[in-house]
Amino acid sequence: MAPHTGGLTTGAAVRISGLHRSFTDDRPVLSGLDLQIGQGEFVALLGRSGSGKSTLLRALAGLDQDATGTGDIEVPEQVSVVFQDSRLLPWQRVLRNVVLGLTGPGAVQRGKDALAEVGLAGRERAWPRELSGGEQQRVALARSLVREPELLLADEPFGALDALTRIKMHGLLRALYERHRPAVLLVTHDVDEAIVLADRVLVLDHGVVKTERRIDLDGTRDPSDPRFAAVRTELLAALGLAGGVEIKQEES
């Protein structure tokens, strides 16, 4: 059950073994999950809604005081989290939210640059509530871009973005990744996104990593590439969609 990364990276950045987590007595959310993420490895996590992806991320970030459970977790010191809700402090303006906790003379400039990168130049002094859903999400992204974590945990960071913006943000995330080479655990619902971005894709199901798929497409990852399509079909099947995306409109 427990997948182990091979020798791709020099050491493991994240090690989880035998992780159990539950909120209520009857139904565990994570039940004996084992996982290793190599240093500098980019892992995408898929899974049904409610399957425990956020729970796993929160456990890695040490934020699961609501839950009970056992298991060993090792993570690097510097962890950065992009929450599923964008979680901007409502009482701080956008720029302040981005540079929150950063010190040093360059902090503000770095924050401005990051905002510009996510397409929000000029909105530095807006309040979070004045932003559209996607803009808020991008601020949250900018907040993680200005940091240099050893582990980046991102919980559906692109969920509220349109296709073009999303692709731009993919680029930004890859750039950040290339720059510092953190280990990344990215939760997403978009299978294509997972395949395009990650080195390895995991599917969480019934509290454990049910499926694991190393993405060994070379260079350009083109969704129209048949190998890409094959991986997609495989992952969709793991998610419970036998024949890929299909819907009978008049069925109901």
Binding site: R15, A59, L63, D66, A67, T70, G71, D72, I73, E77
Partner: protein, 288 residues
């Protein structure tokens, strides 16, 4: 590196120490670094007990003058004597009755006014100013007017207590209500909630945290009002007891009264905080 087992059942053994040097850390489950952290059991007793300790120790060591601040044991004896002789019980009972009635009416009136003023700008224009004025003027100075309007008997006492209670309930509920996130009002609007449902499902629960904070002030304010109202034509009650002890200079009885006030205040406050904790389980805050 020491892998912290979050509980005994951990499956994988701890890893070697070198990795610790690599700047890694393992996180125990849910340990908060910021924020107040886990509640200490019976913490609410520590402060008062500490105070009691200082008092007792100071009295015993002699650097608290017994003639000004009676020693705790003397206070206990005095209280016990008064209780035995059947003086304290009735005083307490009468005061508690006044407290309860005043609280009841004050809370009801405060709530109604807060709703009227919170939900309508005209209501606010009319209600808010007078309430602010009421709370700006000293109760003691208001007494003559209250006497005039409500006489010198029980009714006046309960109204005065209720007026004192009304203030924090009104202000806090009004403030809580107006602080409700506008998005929930939008939701209520698109769901075409009837005003009654809007009040019952959105306004009151949304203002509940504010209201409960108001209750914390209301209960102490109700006890404190006794000091003023029981100066007038009262023949029992702890306010009266203190007044009487004051005129005769019975320091020990005054301190008994103060301790009684402290206990009643602490107890009422604790009850409200308990209700607070129960009623606000839907929140996850720094408190939890």
């Amino acid at each position: 590196m020491t892998a912290v087992k979050t509980e005994a059942k951990a499956v994988v053994p701890p890893v070697d120490d070198e990795e610790l040097a690599a700047g890694r850390a393992s996180r125990p489950r849910g340990k908060r670094r910021l924020g107040p952290g886990k509640p200490i059991p019976l913490a609410f007793l520590i402060g008062p007990l500490l105070l009691l300790g200082v008092w007792a120790w100071g009295s015993a060591a002699g650097w608290i003058d017994d003639r000004v601040l009676t020693a705790p044991w003397t206070v206990v004896t005095t209280a016990w004597e008064r209780w035995e002789s059947g003086k304290l019980g009735p005083d307490l009972l009468v005061s508690t009755q006044r407290f309860a009635l005043g609280l009841l009416f004050g809370v009801l009136a405060g709530l109604v006014l807060a709703l009227v003023s919170g939900l309508s700008r005209w209501g606010e224009a009319i209600v808010d100013g007078p309430v602010q004025i009421k709370r700006s003027i000293p109760n003691l100075a208001l007494l003559p007017l209250l006497l005039l309007w409500f006489g010198i008997d029980e009714r006046m006492k309960i109204i005065t207590i209720a007026l004192g209670v009304l203030i924090p309930i009104y202000i806090h509920t009004h403030n809580g209500l107006r602080s409700i996130d506008g998005r929930y009002a939008e939701l209520a609007e698109t769901l075409r909630l009837k005003p009654a449902a809007f009040i019952g499902r959105v306004v009151l629960p949304g203002a509940l945290p504010g209201f409960l904070l108001g209750m914390r002030f209301a209960v102490t304010s109700a006890w404190l009002s006794l000091v003023v109202v029981e100066q007038v034509n009262a023949t029992s009650g702890i306010g009266y007891m203190m007044l009487l002890a004051g005129t005769y200079g019975q320091t020990d009885v005054i301190i008994v009264g103060l301790v009684l006030y402290a206990l009643l205040g602490l107890a009422s406050d604790a009850i409200v905080r308990l209700i607070q904790r129960r009623a606000l389980t839907w929140r996850r805050t720094l408190e939890d």
